[in-house]
Structures are given as C-alpha cells and as structure tokens.
C-alpha cells in the first residue's frame, strides 16, 4: 500500500526486473563481448590476445569483405527496391480495381497467395529452389528444354556468373508479398471520395496512383523500405541453403562471412569485427530512415 501512495507511477519498476536481467544476459553481455573480442586474436579456446584495430585494418583490405557488401547492395535491390515497387503497384491494383470490380474476397485471396512464401520456413523454400534450379534434374531446365528454349538452361546456382542473380530472383519471389499486405492496409485509410473525385476529374489510373496512393501510404513506404533493407543486410538462411556462399564466394554475404570465420575457420576475433561492422551499418541505416521519416511528417 505504501508503495502506491508514493505516486501514480511508482512500483512499476519491479515488473521490468525479469526483462532487464534477461536482456542483460542474452543481448547486452554478448554484444559487449563481441565488440571486445573484435579487438583481439582468438580461436575460441584459451585467452584472446589484444591486437587493437588489426582486425579492422585487415577487414578494410579484404576483398572478400568488400565483395560481400557488394552482394548485399544487389540483394537490397532484390529484397527492398523491387518488392516495394512491385508491391506498391499490385496493392493499388488490388485495392482500387480488383476489390471494386470483383469484390473484396478476390483481393484478399490474391493478397494471401502472394504472401504465402513469407510464412514458409526459409530452409524449406531454399530446398525447393535448389531442386528447381538444379542443372541436371531441376524443373526449370526441364521446362526450358520442353518448350524448346533448352539453350537458355544453365547451372543457375552453380555458375559464378549467374548464382547471385538466381539468389536475387528467389528473394524477389520470397519477399514481394510483404509490401502488398502493408500497403493494402495503409490504403484502408484513403478516403474513397478522393478516388471518385480524381476519376471525375479525368485523372488516369497512373495519375491517381502517383498523386493519391503513393502520398497516402508514405508511412508504410518508409516502414517497408527500412525493414526489407535491414532484412537484406542480415540475410543468412537463404544463402546458407541455396549456395552456401559459393560457388567460389560468388554469393557470399556479411553474415555468412562472419559465420565462416566463427565456426569454420575459428577466427573469432575477425568474425567479431565483421559482425560489429554489420551491426553499426544497420543501426546507422535505421537512424537515417527514422530521421527521414520524421522530417517528412512535418
């Protein structure tokens, strides 16, 4: 009782204790350890030796590190840029065409269908695609052969020239349902009269799309772009299952690069430096997005 007399908001701190302790153990301490280890040379056994910034200078001169970030740029195109754009158009079509002409049920059916790849385990969709893209017994090459385009068939994931583009294709397939769901819910806010009036004014579909749809769902646009971009920076499972970073590192990404250093090469210090750089990049990116979003609100 006496606690509550102390003020309206006292006594609530107790409820934070489990969360704070758990976060300390699982997030704060490991994070600090990783940053600390990134300044050492350590193979995971015995004591780490302090080497200052050596891991970071090595990183700076490591072609593989730069390559892994180059690949991420292309994956951002496949996971953030293309799905956002395609999702925007599809959400608008579903919302202001399919829902009105064919009914809400059809719009919802399409939305669920497009979203489906997002709910399947990454490892499983990876297995499916590895098999479909397999050079000798995969479905894609067999289809190409059957329809007389056999010359186009190739080793989609095994040829360094095409592997990354194949991964990009799979990621577009995997990702584009998510923006559709987000944008369609944002469009619920749009006053239908706006569309009707634009129609009456003789505005074409594209004009309405640009001036009403895109403007109205700008908050969702930011959320989708930032979350998908961060997802691209973090990508691991898909790459692990599809290509394992290969062939000859053609599809290596930072998280996989770190994983290899941690668990295959036992270069824990170097792996920690890679993860630290990746983390800093993600946080900086998130801050930039938040800034942009706040500015556009004013």
């Amino acid at each position: 009782m006496s606690v509550r007399k102390g003020g309206r908001n006292s006594g609530y701190g107790l409820y934070l204790i489990p969360g704070v302790l758990a976060s300390l153990a699982v997030i704060v301490v490991p994070l600090v350890m990783t940053v600390g280890v990134s300044f050492t040379k350590w193979n995971g056994v015995g004591d780490p030796t302090w080497i200052g910034f050596d891991n970071y200078t090595r990183l700076f001169h490591d072609d593989l590190f730069w390559a892994s970030f180059g690949h991420i740029l292309l994956l951002i195109v496949a996971m953030a840029v293309i799905p956002t754009f395609v999702g925007l158009v599809l959400a608008a079509v579903l919302f202001d065409y399919v829902a009105k002409v064919l009914g809400d049920r059809w719009a919802k059916l399409f939305r669920s269908g497009y979203y489906l790849p997002q709910v399947l385990p990454v490892a499983v969709t990876g297995i499916i695609w590895v098999w479909i893209l397999h050079p000798s017994f995969g479905a894609l090459n067999q289809i190409l052969d059957t329809i007389g385009l056999g010359s186009l068939s190739r080793d989609w994931l095994g040829d360094p020239k095409y592997a990354l583009f194949s991964v990009m294709g799979v990621m577009i397939w995997f990702q584009f349902g998510y923006p559709i769901v987000m944008f369609m819910s944002g469009l619920q806010r749009v006053d239908p009269e706006l569309y009707e009036a634009a129609d009456l004014d003789g505005a074409g579909w594209w004009q309405r799309f640009r001036h009403i749809t895109v403007k109205m769902i700008r908050p969702e646009l930011y959320v989708v772009l930032v979350t998908t971009t961060i997802a691209a920076l973090k990508i691991f499972g898909q790459v692990f299952v599809l290509t394992g970073g290969g062939p000859s590192n053609a599809t290596i990404v930072p998280s996989y690069f770190a994983y290899k250093n941690f668990f295959e090469k036992a270069q824990v210090g170097y792996g920690s430096a890679i993860s630290t750089v990746l983390t800093v990049m993600i946080i900086v990116l998130a801050i930039i997005f938040l800034r942009l979003q706040n500015r556009s609100r004013v």
Binding site: Y15, G19, T34, V93, W131, I282
Partner: protein, 296 residues
C-alpha cells in the same frame, strides 16, 4: 499536388454511381485479372511442383520428368524420408521450442510493457531505445558469446538455450509493440481497478491482460511462427540429431547424396505442411498483426 487539391474541393459533390459505371466500361479488366492470376501461379508454382513430385516413385520421376502427374500416388518417398530422419522427433522439438518461446515471450513482453507503457517508469525512453536497437541487431553479433556462454553453462545442444535466447529476442520486439499499445490503454479502467482496491499485480492480470488479448494473440502467433522458421541460431545450437528442429534437419540435408528428386520433394512437402497449416489457422491474426507493425 494540384490534382490533389482540386480533388478535395470536388469531393463531396460527386455522384458515386457515375464513376462506378465508368469503371465497368473500362476495357482491360480481363487483362488485369489474367496478369494477377499468372503472377499468383508463379508464386505458388514451386509448391505445386513439390506436391506433384513428392508422391512419385523414383522410377516414375526418372521416366516422366518433374512436370508430369504421378502415374500412381505413392507415399513411399514421404514415409521413407519421415523414418530416415525421424521426422516426428523434429516436429516435436520444433513444437516444444516454438510454443515455449511464444508463451514466455508474450509473458516477458507483457511485464516489460506494463512497466513502460502503463507505469511509465523513469527512463522509459531509454528502455524503449534499447529494445528498438535490440530488435535491429543481427544475430551474428550475439552468436559467438552466446555459444561460448552456453557451453560454459552446459546448455549447449539443448533446447533450453534456444528457448531462452529466442524468448528474449522476440520479447524485445513484443515490448516495443506492446508498449505503444499500452500507452493508449484507457485510464478509466485502471482507475476503476484502483478504486476497487486491486493492486498492480491484480490489475495486470484482471484488467490489462484481458483487455489487450487481441494484441497478445497477434504477438503469440508471430513469436510461434518466427521461432518455428528460425534457422541460424538453431543451426548452431542444436547440433545433435535428437535436438534438431524441422528447418535445421531439412537445411543440413541439403546436398546429402541420399536425397534424390523425389526424396527432396517429400522432405520439402513435410517441411511446408506445418507452416501451411499455421498460415491457414492464423491467417486473420497474421494479416492483422503484419499491419499492426509486426514486422521482420
């Protein structure tokens, strides 16, 4: 910009029937529908191909290729695969892990959000910033110390370590989302509970949790499915056969020489089915949740 302002003034005067009629006259209706259907087919095609081939015998596949319908429905590939990797065991592991994380993660989120959203404890902004950043962290930056610590504590290769880790990671997101919901919590309800003599603990369980049940259901669903689909940490922490979850068991089979086309299809099918089942069961909660800001 000018279109938009014109539109606003014209808004109230128009007759909706006119524009409806105009819309129906527009050609290309079937073209739009055909494009959407073709795209839908493209999205589900991989799943369809899997379904067709999972029921074939290897010889049927060898002679007729991946696109023909099976000559006869054979469950042999699925049964063989199921027994070979003891799939029941993996299903059980996944189920136990995901359920525990969903329950504990929601619980931890509720406690945190109660203090931050309703209690508005001092320094709440900094706690929220922390949970937001925790959400952004790539698992790679936590993985090695967690691996090391769990080995020291003899929790390595045990579902307990994975449950603890994911409970905390998921609840970072849950806390962030739920706090924003609890900030809007009707004060009258809290005041009424206080007048009735309910303490903080009773108010939490008798008022706050029941009222926010829809949001908690969304969180529960997401935590469950996210944990079910997780790959990276389970791959590292659950190394032995009897502890593997479904995605790990399937992921590490990649490239196994025993995996021919029909076995691969069978494995993918049994991997997809539970996820598909959750998708159908939770469909409404899911779409509600994705748009409530439940994002990953």
């Amino acid at each position: 910009m000018s279109v938009l302002s014109d539109v606003k003034t014209a808004g109230p005067a128009l007759d909706p029937v006119v524009s409806k009629a105009k819309k129906h006259r527009r050609p290309g209706r079937w073209v739009v529908l055909a494009v959407l259907l073709a795209l839908l087919l493209l999205v589900v095609a991989p799943m369809l191909v899997i379904m067709v081939n999972a029921f074939k015998t290897p010889s049927d596949y060898a002679s007729n290729g991946p696109l023909a319908l099976p000559e006869s429905i054979s469950f042999q590939g699925i049964i063989d695969f199921w027994n070979r990797i003891d799939f029941s065991r993996k299903l059980l592991n996944s189920l136990v892990t995901s359920l525990s994380v969903a329950v504990l993660g929601v619980l931890l989120s509720v406690l945190n959000a109660y203090a931050l959203g309703i209690g508005r404890v001092r320094g709440r902004i900094w706690f929220l910033v922390f949970f937001l950043v925790a959400n952004l962290l790539p698992q790679e930056v936590l993985v090695y110390p967690l691996y090391y610590i769990s080995k020291e504590l003899h929790l390595y290769d045990s579902p307990i370590s994975v449950i603890i880790i994911f409970t905390v990671i998921q609840s970072a997101f849950g806390t962030y989302l739920l706090t924003s919901v609890y900030e809007e919590f009707p004060r009258e309800l809290l005041d009424a509970a206080e007048v009735d003599g309910a303490g903080r603990w009773r108010t939490l369980w008798r008022v706050v949790v029941p009222v926010s049940r829809p949001t908690l259901a969304v969180l529960f669903t997401f935590f469950f499915i996210w944990t079910w689909n997780e790959f990276f940490l389970p791959l590292i922490f659950l190394v032995s056969n009897e502890n593997q979850t479904v995605p790990v068991a399937l992921g590490v089979l990649q490239g196994d020489r025993l995996m021919d086309a029909t076995a691969t299809s069978a494995s993918a099918l049994v991997g997809i089915l539970p996820a598909l089942l959750f998708f159908l069961i939770f469909q409404r909660t899911l779409t509600r949740g994705i748009t409530a800001g439940a994002i990953k």
